[in-house]
Amino acid sequence: MLSRTLKGILTAASMAALTATAVQAEEKHKVFLSMSYIGNDWQAEAANMVKAMAAHSDFADKVDLQVQVAGPNAQRQIQQINAMVQAGADAIVVYPISPTALNNVVKNACNKGVIIIAYDGEITEPCAYNVTIDQTETGRVTAEWLVDKIGDNGKVLVLTGVPGTSVDAARTAAAKEVFEAAGVEVVGEAVGMWSQAVARTELSKLLATRDWDDIDGLWLQVGCYTANAMQIEAGRTPEQLLPCAGEGSNGGRIQMLPVGTEVEGASGAYAPLGAQRISYASPPYAGGLALKLAVSMLEGQEVPKLTTLPLPLVTSETVKLCETGSWEEMKAGCNAFLPSIVSNPGWFASIYSADTPEIGLNAALVGQPEL
């Protein structure tokens, strides 16, 4: 009895869904987002920006966006992309867990006429579109900045990302090449997993047998914010903070502001310290831009296979506080946000792109587009 009723409901529901999709299919493009892990700030922000882009008035009646999460499991992403193709996707925006493992499934999707566009990570299959920054360049430029600050033959600590990933391998290799050429010695190296929490543990381990004074500089893929906090805890003054090349978190950006800058909501280490920094990150707006490009392709425009984003580099000289964080304001050059608005110092601040006037601070924070 129950099962028959249930079946009836389900059939009715699926019929309704069928008619609904049939109606929508005429007007809206079916676009899927296949994310990796949602367990960190970067991923959450990137997903917010994609959602905000889809909700923007330019896209809201063109795009029907569905978000799925594959976790850290490439196998599952393969299966998910297959399922999305089966579900009738027009385009799939992907945060690829592996640059190579998806190749076959992506090729198959392309053959069925589905547009595949990857952001941040890269898919090496030639039919896929990629929106990324040049990771080798990132490693090189930041290491050169550090060498410039500390001079040749200095001693540095290094925190890498997730071992076994292309992004980590490219950044670390490029940086080490620069260090070697300048005679800079890497006195300690640990795996930072791109997490402030891990950075804290690993830096503690590295410093158990040495002192901050024994080191000249830091090259940390993620961890400068934490490193500065630890130096202050260890009794060093803001002037003594070591030069640090690292992540583009808002906490780090605030620390780069000159000491004494009025900043609403600042507390503890999340405050202006005048830290010597170069701040970079894979920009979280890449997902939103990928969606925009996908839609323009669906509307018949040509898009290059590889979109290389400009490196979002901010140094202590170029850091500037935003008042509201609107796209217009960021266009004028601000790149750090008030702690009273962005309460999480690990939040990534590289959200401005000249190509995405649809999304600003609210997009990254809560998934709301600019008006």
């Binding site: 389900l10 059939t11 529901a13 699926s14 869904a17 999709t21 949602i38 367990g39 960190n40 700030d41 978000v67 799925q68 999460v69 976790g71 850290p72 490439a74 196998q75 599952r76 393969i78 299966q79 998910q80 297959n82 399922a83 089966q86 579900a87 592996s98 190579t100 493992a101 998806l102 190749n103 076959n104 890498t160 071992p163 076994g164 990933t165 292309s166 980590d168 391998a169 890497v186 006195v187 795996v191 997490s195 402030q196 929490a197 804290r200 543990t201 503690s204 381990k205 590295l206 158990a208 047998t209 040495r210 002192d211 906090a229 507390s267 503890g268 280490a269 309460s343 999480n344 690990g346």
Partner: protein, 692 residues
């Protein structure tokens, strides 16, 4: 008369047989029906009819997991546990991707399949050697192997790339009969035929016998050692084949490709009706289990369920499938309900023991200590010989690590800074060791630790929002949540009679969903300054958490060693049945132990938040395997009943000291992983039980 009765008796016998068969295959049948049901449902709700291509995709999509889970099933049938499975898949993948000639698009499928299986079997033999021949605990051996293999994999290939010939892809993902039968389905059938043959060989019989009762198996003349060794080798072969399949599917190499398959693999085995602990189950059920997990992913997509619920949905499928598979008159749940009914009716009739007059019927023991009995003074060392035997190795190893650190990096023995860091960093594992250790002492395992830590951290940071005053109510709230988590874990184990691994694995998924929903994907808020001070400030020259840790250690030692609760835990771990018959309320003790574990995890979550200043979603992920490792390295037996908290503390200090040593060197991460694995292996070899 007898002539007329005989056929009915026969009929009865045959219907009995059918019933027995049904019961025996109940789990497989349930798994099959769940799979068919989900498949039908997906078909029903999907806007497009399912075509041959869709079936082909699904078959290949769940294939890697199915193959790997089949290998894992063999190990579990033999009473073991294999944590190295995912790592072996990655290893085979990178071996193939680096060794194949990029110019050769027609590489031999047989040759490379054999290579993959061979690599898998070689690692399996490594596991088998330590587990079967040296009789070490499988969970630790395979944990060590996992680290070693992960390191080797990164040495072979440090980033995704390489080339796998398309011939492999077309062989495994193409069609056996175009538009009728995908090659992957043929592969799974071939493997299943192999299994049904294997099951009926002498080895197959021995496998079930060894898994059910190794001692009895040994007594009936079964060569347990050989059977166990063979099992690990065969399982390695399955992982190898899974690695070959991944290579074919992806056409390239990725050193991390298999690592995340480990937990789904256990879920697939359990959903398929194989009992953790050994002796019951089979590979057919596992195949259905793997495909159920796969189809759930598709369903979530078709139903457009928020990503936050995906782990929740998977946990529910896991729990329901396992419950349905074990449902019978003899299931613990049914027995518990029956017991409760009996209790109530006995109470009504006034027959309960507790309702009778209390008379002290205890036998009077001539209680004598060892020295009184022998009449001579027994040294402290002799009295505690066993404990020392299992506790000391961790400290000896710690001393060696400290000396090596002093020699290579310096600043160990002459500066307090090193010790301060060592103790602060060890505090997380030391606290977890009490909870996980107590669970392990009862013969269980708590896999819900990672997200209990994360949820607690996120709650405390979110509630206090950087205010000291808010700690007064934030901490009790977090503790209350932890008690509920532990209680539910314990209830699942005791009342539903499910394996602790299943219950806590499902709980972990539920908690992940809860954490995501509560924080809406981005945890907000800060640790209160007081909390930060505890982890990073200074009190009389030391970090304030250190005195707290000392108090905690004293408390833990007293609780496990000097209280009735502690003794009951050990009693339970040695024999639950014996403990119950001696009057231990086993259910209550078990539930308390899981609550203790959740409380410890919550405490670590709070302290970690203080340490980092904020909470993050994945903050507990790095603590699950170490929490098990420190307990075992500290001398505890994974099957329960043996272990001392001071040993576990030594394990925590040793692991942390070793990581500090490795972090200070410029060795590449890959070497460190290999080295770490060998140290764990060396530690368990030192703890090996002497025969006889």
């Amino acid at each position: 008369m007898s002539r007329t009765k005989a056929p009915t008796r026969q009929k009865e016998a045959s219907s009995m047989q059918i019933k027995q068969g049904l019961r025996r295959y109940q789990a497989v049948i349930v798994a099959l029906s769940v799979f068919v049901g989900l498949f039908g449902l997906t078909n029903l709700i999907s806007p497009y009819p399912i075509s041959y291509f869709d079936i082909s995709f699904m078959a290949s999509g769940g294939m890697t997991l199915a193959l790997a889970a089949m290998g894992q099933t063999l190990v579990i049938l033999a009473g073991g546990f294999d944590l190295s499975a995912g790592a072996i898949i990655s290893l085979v993948n990178v071996v193939l991707a680096t060794q194949m000639d990029p110019a050769n698009f027609e590489a031999s499928v047989t040759l490379w399949t054999m290579t993959g299986i061979g690599v898998g079997m070689a690692v399996g033999a490594f596991n088998g050697f330590f587990v079967a021949i040296l009789r070490l605990q499988p969970i630790v051996v395979t944990l060590a192997t996992m680290f070693i293999v992960q390191g080797l994999t990164l040495l072979i290939m440090d980033k995704p790339g390489g080339f796998v010939s398309p011939s492999l892809g077309s062989a495994y993902l193409g069609d056996a009969i175009p538009n009728l039968l995908p090659a992957s389905i043929v592969l799974i059938l071939v493997v299943l035929v192999f299994w049904f043959w294997l099951k009926n060989t002498r080895y197959g019989m021995a496998l079930y016998a060894v898994g059910s009762d190794p001692v009895a198996a040994e007594a009936t003349g079964i060569r347990g050692t050989l059977t166990l060794f063979m099992t690990y080798v065969l399982a390695g072969g399955f992982y190898g084949l899974a690695g070959v399949f991944v290579s074919a599917q992806t056409g390239s190499g990725d050193p991390l490709v298999g690592n995340s398959l480990l937990l789904p693999m256990f879920a697939a085995v359990v959903i398929g009706g194989t009992r953790l602990g050994g002796g019951k189950g089979g590979l057919l059920g596992t195949v259905f289990g793997a495909y159920i997990l796969m189809i759930v992913v598709n369903m979530l997509l078709t139903l457009n369920i928020s990503a936050y619920y995906s782990t929740v949905a998977e946990s529910c499928v896991l729990l329901l499938a396992v419950l349905a598979g074990s449902m019978s008159k003899h299931s613990p749940l049914a027995q518990k309900l029956q017991g409760a009914r009996d209790y109530l009716s006995a109470r009504r009739k006034g027959l309960l023991v507790s309702q009778r007059d209390y008379v002290d019927r205890r036998l009077s023991f001539a209680s004598k200590t060892l020295s009184e009995a022998t009449g001579e003074h027994v040294s402290w060392f002799r009295k505690n010989a066993t404990t020392l035997r299992y506790t000391l190795p961790a400290y000896v190893a710690l001393l060696i690590v400290l000396i090596v650190t002093q020699l290579t990096l310096g600043n160990v023995f002459d500066k307090f800074g090193y010790w301060n860091t060592l103790l602060v960093l060890s505090s997380f594992l030391a606290i977890l060791a009490l909870g996980q250790g107590a669970v392990i002492l009862t013969g269980g395992l708590d896999l819900s630790i990672p997200w209990t830590i994360a949820l607690s951290g996120i709650l405390v940071a979110g509630i206090v929002q950087g205010s000291d005053a808010a700690l007064i109510y934030a901490v009790p709230i977090v503790i209350a949540v932890a008690v509920v988590i532990g209680f539910l874990n314990g209830l699942g184990v005791v009342a539903l009679g499910l394996s602790p691994i299943v219950v806590t694995l499902a709980m972990n998924g539920l908690l992940q969903g809860a954490a995501l929903l509560w924080s809406d994907g981005t945890p907000a808020g800060f640790a209160a300054p007081a909390l930060r001070w505890v982890m990073t400030g200074r009190l009389l020259g030391v970090t304030p958490v250190i005195p707290f840790l000392i108090v905690f250690v004293i408390f833990a030692v007293l609780m496990l060693g000097r209280t009735a609760f502690g003794r009951r835990i050990y009693a339970l771990g040695n024999s639950e049945e014996a403990a119950r018959l001696s009057g231990v309320k086993t259910g209550r003790v078990l539930i308390s132990v899981y609550i203790l574990s959740s409380l410890c995890a919550a405490l670590v979550g709070i302290l970690l938040t203080g340490f980092s200043g904020q909470a993050s979603l994945g903050m507990g992920d790095d603590y699950l395997l170490p929490s098990i490792a420190v307990v075992v390295v500290g001398g505890a037996l994974i099957t329960g009943g043996r272990g001392h908290y001071l040993g576990m503390l030594g394990g925590a200090l040793l692991l942390t000291a070793m990581q500090m040593l490795l972090a200070g060197t410029s060795l590449p991460y890959a070497f460190r992983a290999v080295f770490f694995g060998f140290v764990i292996l060396a530690a368990v070899i030192a703890l090996r039980e002497k025969k006889g």
